[in-house]
Every structure is written in structure tokens, then in C-alpha cells.
């Protein structure tokens, strides 16, 4: 495995199930059992009703590009040599938006509304990162 030189997530109790699911190749999000709202990013509380009745649920892994930008300049190690790359907000089928990169395609082919699906890349033995690619 080549050495991962991009920033890595810090993982704590409230977010650990998310990252452990990613390691298994599964995208999970949270839904509140009290108010039934989905939320992203994951939290130890329901951001909507402030209850702690939050449950982890498997996401469909499908969504559409809500917006994006083709990045041509980023001085951060790990990204500087990756330009141009696509930074995007993807709206999941469940209705919540998440930041991601759109990979496995030509940046010029990305458009708002493009159907995408999750794909995973193992960063190291502890962390696997979810990305999105155009739906087959």
C-alpha cells in the first residue's frame, strides 16, 4: 500500500461507527428515532431535536452531485500533486449532503445533478475513505 500523504480523520467515540463501517466497505449515516430526521456529519446527539435516540443506518450509497468545483490549486500536501481534482457536495438519496471527491472520471464530465455512487479507498490499516464515482 503506498503511503497516504493526505490529511487523515481523527476518530472519536461518536464518529467511530462511521469509520469502522467504511473499513468494511459500507456507508452508514444516522437517523433519529425520536424525530426521524437523517443527519450528516455524524454526531453524539440528534442535531434536530437534541435527543440521543440516534441510530446508525446503512445508506444506499447513491446520490447526485449538488454542487462541485474543479480545484486547480491547493498547497496542502497530498492534494498539491492531485490537481485538477473535483471537490463536491453530494446529496445522498436519503436527503443529506456530504463533502466528497468525485473520482474515476474526467473532471470535465462532472455536472450538477450527475448520479453518483460510493466507492472506497483504503488509506492505511485504520482508515478507509469514502469517495463517489459516476453511477454505472
Amino acid at each position: 500500500m503506498p503511503e497516504w500523504n493526505k490529511p487523515l480523520p481523527s476518530i472519536v467515540g461518536e464518529t467511530r461507527p462511521y469509520w469502522e463501517s467504511c473499513r468494511r466497505g459500507e456507508l452508514v449515516i444516522q437517523r433519529c428515532d425520536s424525530c426521524h430526521e437523517y443527519q450528516f456529519y455524524p454526531r453524539g446527539i440528534c442535531a434536530n431535536c437534541w435527543s440521543n435516540d440516534i441510530k446508525w443506518v446503512k445508506a444506499s450509497g447513491k446520490g447526485t452531485v449538488w454542487t462541485y468545483t474543479v480545484t486547480y490549486q491547493n498547497r496542502t500536501q497530498g492534494f498539491a500533486q492531485d490537481v485538477p481534482y473535483v471537490l463536491a457536495l453530494v446529496e445522498l438519496a436519503e436527503g443529506v449532503k456530504m463533502f466528497t471527491n468525485i473520482v474515476e472520471c474526467n473532471p470535465q464530465d462532472v455536472k450538477i445533478g450527475l448520479p453518483v455512487e460510493v466507492t472506497f479507498v483504503q488509506a492505511n490499516n485504520q482508515v478507509t475513505v469514502p469517495y463517489f464515482k459516476p453511477s454505472a
Binding site: 481523527s10 462541485y68 468545483t69 496542502t76
Partner: protein
């Protein structure tokens, strides 16, 4: 609510005009600015009871600043919500003065973003200067290579998609502010530019080009705010704080539509407090981190309908002589942007309301009411919005 109109006035200002200061400390720039702003007001160190400052670094927090200045303020406010922090400071100073807790405050800021080589716009996570990501939200965002430019570019892209806004329309903002900068001897860039110059510049993060982005400079400044009793004895025409509103906008746990920015929430309380309407405003200082910031802000402040900002900024409307002149000092796009720019909005609005440029092309004719709106953070993830309305007798 208590009537806060005219409860406080800006009585002294100073802009530290340096754009490059490798041999100064941030505290020195703030100290020099505070001294000059008090001179401008005709006040002294002993008159200052409140100290307001913001910084992304602890080095010039209110505590270190009070130490440097050897002051013992009885009211300290370090509210730091990005570049628009200083509109929040003025709002808070107004409240503290109206409540009778203090009679006089200084708001100050400085940064060595340029000489320090800070990649404010394209530094990615490095812009925070700490290697470890916070568990949230950083760990769900910075792993994807966010940049400040990118977070604004994403909203520009969505705006174009929804409303048909064009790169040429965004460029109109850069062209207008550069024209104003050409009248400001202190501005970093003063050579006029065209729409073609902007859209032909290299793309930093699509759809934003180099000239859609603000400059990076060193610099700083200070504002002295005082009660009506103190203001009456000051040297300068008081610039009254008539209205203030504050808001934040964020992803709303993944569910909010960030095409609407914090200005949508912050402007209404400011206008209500001031008892004025949009058509009364003679000029506006609109935080211009990027051209899209101005378009979105003008829409959500209510100067035009949502989606019509691209047309609104075209045809000279936002230039001096137009319907709503904005950023008459050249703005962040051409004059200066030392990391955070909110304080400079207050400085230029005050100069215009004092009629400091009377007899020159830079003066907005008969300027009696000005609006400042500071945006801090990033449109695409989370940001603050502070609106203040200022006026002269």
C-alpha cells in the same frame, strides 16, 4: 426591545495603510492603529473602557493585546467568527454602551498574512496551522481537499446552475472594485481591468478565476466607538450606529440549502432597528472575499431578488455614480485583505459618511446612510454574517 438607534457612534478611525510589513509584529500594528484612531477622535488611552479584537491566532487575543497596550479594559470581547467579526464587534459594542456598562470602546485588528506567506485561499487545511484534524467537522471535510476558494466556488457553480449567472457577471464586481481602487492611493492594485481580463485569468477553483479572488496583504486598523455623551465632545462628525443584525449559516446537519447565506437572516433586524429601507442606503460595504460573495450578499440582503444578483452588479450599478456604489476603497478584491477584512468595511463607510473625499471622484455624493455587511468563514460550509447600518446627522 430597547431602542438602540443612535445609542453609539463611531468617533475615531485609523487604517494602518501598510500592505506589506515584514518587520512589524501584529500587536505593533494594532497598537499604532489604536493610538491613531484615538487621536482622530480626540480621546486618550484613559477614555477606553472596552477592548474588541478578533484573530485566528491566540497571539493577539484581547488578553495579549491588553498586555501589549498596558490597558485594563473592563469589557473584553474576542468574538471570532471569521472575516466579518468586526461587524459583530460593533453590534456588541453598541449593546454594551447602550446598557451603560461602558462609554467608549476600541475595535482593532491586524494581520501579517502576506509577509507570513499564509495561503489563505488555497492553503487547504494548512491554513489552520495545526496538523491534526478535529473529529468533526474537519474529519468529514478536510480529507477531501477543501480550500477557501473552493468553498466559495461551489456556491458560484450552484448559482450559475440555478439562475444562469455568468462568469462575465461575476467579473463585473471585480471591474467595479478595481475602478474604485484606482482612486485609492493606498490600494494594492490600482490599474483598471476589464471583464475579459477577469474571465481570461487562470482558473483557481472552477468557476472562479484569479481575479475573482481577493488579494492577500498585511495590514490592520482600529475603530473607536463611544456613547452619545462622549461623541458630542469628539473631534469628528459622529457616525451613528443605527442598526445591527447577526446570523450564522451552516449545513444544518446536511439538510440546509446553502445557496441562501447568513445575510438573509441578519439584514432584517438591522433594517428594523434603523427604521430605514433599502432605497435609503447611499452606499454599501459588502465583504468581497470573492466576486460571488458580493452577488450572493446583495441578493440575500434584499437589494435585488434571489438569482438576479448577476444582473444587479452589471452596467455600472455598483460603481460610484451608480444606484448603489459598493466597496469604494477598492475592497478586498483590489485594495487589501489581511486574512480578515471586516474592520475595513467600517473604516471606509465612516470616511464616506464624514464626506472625507468631498470634491474628489471617490466621494459618494450626499452620503448619509451606509450599510456594511461582513461575511466570515465560507459560503459552502459554514459562515457568519453581520449587518450594520451607519448614518450621519
Amino acid at each position: 426591545m430597547v431602542d438602540l438607534r443612535n445609542a453609539a457612534a463611531i468617533v475615531g478611525i485609523h487604517e494602518h495603510v501598510t500592505r506589506y510589513a515584514p518587520d512589524k509584529s501584529e500587536l505593533q500594528i494594532q497598537g499604532e492603529s489604536v493610538i491613531k484612531a484615538l487621536e482622530d477622535a480626540g480621546l486618550t488611552k484613559n477614555d477606553v473602557e472596552g477592548l474588541f479584537t478578533a484573530s485566528s491566532s491566540i497571539r493577539n487575543s484581547g488578553l495579549n493585546l491588553a498586555d501589549y497596550l498596558n490597558m485594563y479594559p473592563k469589557y473584553v470581547d474576542n468574538t471570532t467568527v471569521g472575516g466579518g467579526s468586526f461587524e459583530f464587534h460593533l453590534s456588541h459594542a453598541l449593546t454594551a454602551i447602550a446598557a451603560g456598562r461602558i462609554n467608549c470602546a476600541v475595535i482593532t485588528y491586524s494581520s501579517l498574512a502576506r509577509s507570513g506567506g499564509v495561503s489563505v485561499g488555497t492553503g487547504g487545511v494548512g491554513r489552520y496551522g495545526h496538523p491534526r484534524l478535529d473529529p468533526s467537522p474537519d474529519s468529514f471535510e478536510e480529507i477531501y481537499g477543501l480550500t477557501t476558494v473552493g468553498l466559495y466556488a461551489m456556491i458560484a457553480q450552484r448559482h450559475m446552475h440555478l439562475f444562469g449567472t455568468t462568469s462575465e457577471q461575476l467579473a463585473e464586481v471585480a471591474v467595479a472594485t478595481r475602478k474604485h481602487a484606482s482612486m485609492n492611493p493606498e490600494a494594492l492594485f490600482r490599474t483598471p481591468i476589464t471583464v475579459a481580463d477577469v474571465v481570461n485569468a487562470r482558473v483557481i477553483s472552477s468557476p472562479l478565476h484569479l481575479l475573482d479572488c481577493c488579494v492577500i496583504t498585511d495590514g490592520g486598523g482600529a475603530v473607536v466607538v463611544a456613547s452619545p455623551e462622549v461623541a458630542r465632545n469628539c473631534r469628528q462628525t459622529p457616525v451613528w450606529v443605527l442598526g445591527a443584525g447577526e446570523a450564522v449559516a451552516h449545513q444544518g446537519a446536511g439538510q440546509r440549502d446553502l445557496i441562501y447565506i447568513a445575510a438573509k437572516q441578519s439584514h432584517q433586524p438591522a433594517f428594523e432597528m434603523a427604521g430605514v429601507t433599502h432605497k435609503d442606503i447611499d452606499m454599501a460595504m459588502i465583504y468581497d472575499s470573492f466576486t460571488i460573495t458580493v452577488v450572493e450578499t446583495l441578493e440575500d440582503l434584499g437589494f435585488c431578488e434571489k438569482g438576479e444578483g448577476g444582473q444587479f452588479v452589471s452596467g455600472g450599478r455598483i460603481q460610484i455614480g451608480g444606484e448603489l456604489p459598493i466597496n469604494t476603497d477598492g475592497g478586498g478584491l483590489s485594495s487589501n485583505h489581511p486574512g480578515m477584512r471586516g474592520i475595513f468595511l467600517l473604516l471606509e463607510a465612516t470616511r464616506q459618511l464624514r464626506h472625507q473625499f468631498e470634491g474628489t471622484p471617490r466621494q459618494v455624493p450626499n452620503c448619509r446612510l451606509a450599510l456594511c455587511h461582513g461575511t466570515g468563514g465560507a459560503l459552502g460550509s459554514r459562515h457568519s454574517g453581520g449587518t450594520v447600518i451607519l448614518g450621519r446627522d
